[in-house]
Symmetry: C2
Subunit: 143 residues, 2 copies
Amino acid sequence: MWTFHRGGRRFETGRAHPSSGRYARGVDDGIASTPEPPYTAVIFTSLRTEGDRDYAATAAAMERLAAREPGFLGLESAREGLGITVSYWRDEAAATAWKGVVEHLAAQDRGRREWYRDYAVRIATVHRAYTLSTSTFGDAGPR
Amino acid sequence: MWTFHRGGRRFETGRAHPSSGRYARGVDDGIASTPEPPYTAVIFTSLRTEGDRDYAATAAAMERLAAREPGFLGLESAREGLGITVSYWRDEAAATAWKGVVEHLAAQDRGRREWYRDYAVRIATVHRAYTLSTSTFGDAGPR
């Protein structure tokens, strides 16, 4: 797997981090501020096992680590039974490099053995994006 | 926007729906069972306004409606402050057709005006995917 959830941490509000494009822990629990496409999205969907088993702490550490990797653009995460984490990268090479970071490899190993009863990873190229403010009201067609 | 969240509904466990590839309400609150890539992913990330305002009921209705659309492959959704819904489609034409369905247009309009204080929609092409069972243990390289 590539990314981790915030585990038991719960936040009821969120806001986009500053338009610097730099992911900052504690600032970004909201919608990632990503540049114009194209860029890479890694969609990580998972179902947890019971119990924490160091999961929450490791997930937070992995998020901090990912945010320092070259080509990292942002991360969005939510769990409601099903967990979904989407991390955004400059390109697939950047996402792949993060997958191979040694601390991340150790966490991936524990994930497979202990934390997840199932997961799916999908690597995708984002080629179009818009937001509430850039959406055209009433536009039913492709953008 | 393209897709909707389950709102206040909470589920602590989930399971993949049968390998029929057909999304079925009440069966699928887990990881979507998607075919081999390539296919289209619509990543909808949102922050809600306060209060329900028919949101939960409309979201559930829109999910049922989406599941009957041609080219629909599956849907994954979670909200934890931030909401993330990823819907999967055979191709971008199928995703775009869903965006233009009349009932969905009405819901999108209410979403912009009432339900969301911010959202982002990202349209992506999934070109690689794996799961816990198809992941190669210890594989640090690209797959």
